[in-house]
């Protein structure tokens, strides 16, 4: 786990500036002799404190790589000392400049030591709190990430046992009558289970996911016969090497078959369209929606919810899963950005 926050990142810099400004307000509001007006004091203190704060942040950002190579305890102490040195030097520099230019923004000349030491002390106190805050935040994030990972492992798309046994039954029936079809079915089933058993969070590619969907639909077409019609429209420009989570599409297609086609006595069409949209990819899976009274009892959209959280986890907010539920049709649309997904 990382003990030092990334001080180059905007959220962290924002927190640093926010805390610096809070400190400024505390200093300015705290009762004093009020020899200078409120707003000028606020302005000069803000400039000074923000300058010190950002200087510390930038230095820690630049020193992050060597610091992280140290033992955590040694690293924390070093980071802390860096901040102290910066505040001591900065205060000394500002005080000297102020005296040289006779601006009267700091304190009279005899208070030089007090100015420098007290600033350093303030910096030490607030630095402790901030480093601790970032550490706890990081710890919390790591835990959330670990929990999400554990949950994802749990969610990891699985192929339903139902499908296995139904397929086995289909194969058993084909062996005598259509040995070649049975052979293909065994190969397809093996590929599907290889993917399902090997899916331990290792990313797959868009191309192989589409291939798996094809194999899955081939088996289901054997099982359901003419009741299952399939159309697949794949854009030639599709980045087939694009990494995606394993078994991303198959559960959605399985849903389309089980909830859309199988409850209909006359069957229906599962239509998959994959196209390139801007720099990303859009995949739409459409299926008929049986009329009320013929629908299967739903499992509260488990497959959809699982897929949605997996997309969120891998692609962040730029990955989208849309569900359009019509009276007679059902459409699931995935929009995936064409980027390297976050490493879990």
């Amino acid at each position: 786990m990382r003990w030092l926050a990334d001080f180059c990142s905007l959220p962290v810099l924002f927190v640093v500036m926010l805390v610096a400004e809070l400190v400024v307000l505390v200093i300015v509001i705290a009762p004093s002799d009020e020899s200078r007006a409120f707003l000028p004091r606020l302005a000069t203190t803000t400039v000074f404190v923000q300058w010190l704060g950002l200087l510390c942040a930038v230095s820690l950002c630049k020193l992050r790589a060597p610091l992280e190579r140290l033992q955590p305890l040694l690293g924390v102490v070093t980071a802390y000392l860096v901040m102290l040195v910066i505040s001591l030097a900065g205060s000394y520099l500002v005080f000297t400049l102020d005296q040289q230019l006779s601006l009267g923004l700091t304190l009279p000349a005899q208070f030089q030591t007090r100015f420098v030491i007290r600033n350093a002390a303030l910096c030490a106190l607030i630095g402790t709190a901030l480093l601790r805050y970032f550490y706890v935040l990081e710890q919390w994030r790591t835990r959330v990430r670990a929990e999400a990972q554990a949950r994802l492992d749990g969610l990891q798309a699985r192929i339903r046992p139902h499908f296995l046994f139904n397929s086995m039954n289909t194969i058993a029936s084909l062996i005598r009558t259509q040995p070649a079809a049975a052979e293909h079915a065994v190969e397809d089933l093996s590929d599907l289970f290889r993917a399902a058993l090997g899916a331990d969070g290792a990313p797959s590619t868009l191309g192989s996911e589409l291939e798996l969907v094809r194999r899955y639909l081939a088996i289901e077409q054997l099982r359901l016969g003419e009741r299952l019609q399939v159309t697949m429209q794949i854009d030639d420009l599709l980045p087939l090497q694009m990494p995606v989570p394993a078994l991303l599409l198959q559960p959605l297609v399985e849903n389309a078959v089980n909830h859309g086609v199988q409850p209909l006595p006359q069957g229906g069409t599962v239509a998959l369209r994959a196209s390139r949209v801007g720099s990303g990819v859009e995949i739409a899976i459409a299926n008929p929606r049986p009329p009320e009274g013929q629908r299967l009892p739903t499992r509260n959209g488990m497959a959809l919810a699982n897929t949605r959280s997996r997309i969120e986890y891998h692609f962040g907010w730029r990955g989208v899963l849309l569900v359009q539920e019509g009276a007679e049709d059902f459409l699931v649309t995935l929009r995936l950005p064409d980027v390297e997904p976050a490493k879990p």
């Binding site: 139902h162 139904n166 039954n169 194969i171 359901l224 006595p265 013929q294």
Partner: protein
């Protein structure tokens, strides 16, 4: 033994056909691809045995078995299922037979022997009790019209009217009699119907509005029906809410 094969998957039916051919002493009456057709065929052809898949369109196997059990003579039912935990759990303890797919010839032969030992009625009765205990609401009502069996989809029912010891089922302009108490129907299909009067349940989806007559009686208007049905004072608040919800 005359057998009927019911499964929505052609290869599964084909396999059962070839297995039954190996069993001998079994005459294949026909095949059906969904529960509703199966019940209709069974009512016409009176098979001794129905091999029934559980997950099927229009009407699932569990419900089909329930309707089959009301036939006279009731056929023996053997469930065939790929993987269904609760079906296994529900039937494990009882004499009802189930086969898991892919079905083994020996298991099928055992089931056939058992079906022959029991009279169809005994098995059916056991099944009926089991299935009632499961108490999933039916998707169809089983009605006899002049000796013929008619399956009325529950989604197509407009309203149910109690008359003497019968209940008249009004659907798509037809009216048929069933011998089930209105109270039991209300319990089974509670979410779908609303009671508007001591003797009447109306499908919520068909309820289009209320009319008040000059003598302070309230009547319910039903979509696609000429008649207006009286709403009792006691049920009025609930009916109002149902109309608003629709």
């Amino acid at each position: 033994m005359k057998a009927l094969i019911v499964d929505d998957e052609p290869p599964a039916r084909a396999r059962l056909v070839s297995l039954l051919q190996e069993c001998g002493d079994v005459e294949l009456l026909g095949e059906a691809g969904d529960g509703r057709t199966a019940v209709e065929i069974a009512a016409r052809l009176a098979p001794d045995l129905v091999l029934l898949d559980i997950s099927m369109p229009l009407m699932n196997g569990l419900e089909a078995a329930r309707h089959l059990a009301t036939l006279d003579p009731a056929p023996a039912v053997i469930f065939c299922t790929a993987f269904d935990e609760h079906a296994l759990a529900a039937f494990d303890a009882n004499a009802i037979d189930y086969l898991v797919k892919p079905i083994r010839l020996e298991r099928l032969q055992g089931a056939l022997a058992r079906a022959q030992r029991y009279s169809g009625g005994a098995v059916a009765k056991l099944q009926l009790e089991q299935l009632d205990a499961q108490s999933a609401s039916r998707t169809h009502l089983c009605v006899r019209v002049r000796g013929n069996l008619v399956l009325v989809p529950v989604t197509e029912i407009d309203y149910l009217m109690a008359e003497d010891k019968y209940v008249v089922v009004h659907y798509r302009g037809n009216a048929v009699l069933i011998e089930e108490p209105l109270k039991a129907l209300e319990t089974e299909f509670g979410g779908r119907f609303v009671r508007i009067h001591r003797n009447c349940l109306v499908a919520k989806a068909r309820l289009v509005g209320l009319v008040r007559t000059t003598d302070e009686h309230v009547f319910a208007k039903i979509a696609g029906c000429e008649v207006q049905l009286e709403v009792s004072r006691r049920n009025l608040p609930v009916v109002r809410r149902a109309v608003k919800g629709a």
